[in-house]
């Protein structure tokens, strides 16, 4: 198996924030922390592009490199996880991450950071799989249930793909090959491909 990866198709993302909602609901993420966020470029301008961003589970993760207590680890599936029992909330990982993935709940007084929280690729953490302790600290462990991350599985336009890197790359490649190009760089045809027979007309009398 290749490494687990996310891939967001900017042509398809409609900024619905369904992935953000799915993540928060699935993992019961605390207020103030968004493990996943939708970023829009040129918002409001025709041709705007949105992309859903969370932890990219880097192959050479900078958060792992800078952690002074070595609380990060990488699973066999390539998912970057951390041990909240060891985390000291220093915030180095937050500064090191180019995606702003590690975040700190600030519920306490004096802007206290608390234990770092990040996307787990719905793979839980270093507790007994699908136990109460694991859910409380890290959220749902869907991989142990044979499922994929909730954000990707819930995406209505299938803009966000998540899973085995090889498989989702094949899905995306197949999709990209069916797209238009040139003047049709954005819009329905680009995102969903062209119809097999463009000359085909809707039958008369039928609802459009």
């Amino acid at each position: 198996m290749a490494r687990m990866k996310f891939l967001c198709d900017a042509e398809r993302c409609i900024e619905c924030n369904g992935c953000v909602t799915a993540c928060k609901q699935e993992n019961e993420v605390p207020w103030g922390v968004n493990r996943r966020r939708v970023v829009t470029l040129n918002d409001g301008v025709p041709g705007e592009k949105s992309i859903s961003v969370a932890c990219m589970h880097c192959s050479d993760a900078p958060c792992m490199a800078v952690c002074p207590v070595d609380c990060f680890y990488k699973t066999e599936e390539g998912v970057v996880l951390h041990d909240k029992d060891m985390c000291i909330g220093c915030g180095y990982c937050f500064y090191a991450c180019p995606f702003g993935a590690p975040q700190f709940p600030q519920a306490g007084a004096f802007g206290m950071r608390g234990k770092m929280d990040k996307c787990t690729f719905c793979a839980g953490g270093p507790e007994k799989d699908n136990s109460k302790e694991e859910f409380a600290k890290y959220g749902s462990n869907r991989l142990a249930q044979g499922k994929l991350p909730a954000c990707a599985e819930m995406c209505s336009t299938k803009a966000l793909l998540g899973g085995d890197g090889d498989v989702i790359a094949d899905i995306f490649r197949n999709r990209a090959l069916k797209r238009g190009k040139g003047a049709e760089v954005w819009g329905w045809g680009t995102a969903y491909g062209k119809p097999d027979n463009p000359q085909q007309q809707a039958p008369k009398g039928a609802k459009s």
Binding site: P126, G146, E153
Partner: protein, 86 residues
Amino acid sequence: MINARKIMVAGVALAALATVAGCGEKEQVIVYQQGKYQGKTDTKPADNDPGSSLYTTSKWTKGDKAGWEAALKSRNQNQNEYTRAN
């Protein structure tokens, strides 16, 4: 006489070793090794029984990594609408 000399040579050698030992530089940055870190160990997803999960469609036998991977790969195809709708 010979014994005293031997002891003296050994003592000098030990003193020399102790002196240069301070010159060695110990790695202070934690180097991550695959599968080893300072926290708790984690179990592998394939080591779970799929029957214990709610609403799962994936099937594999407990501990069967290849089976778990195959189940996930087939589930991955649910994200491919070219195989779902067309």
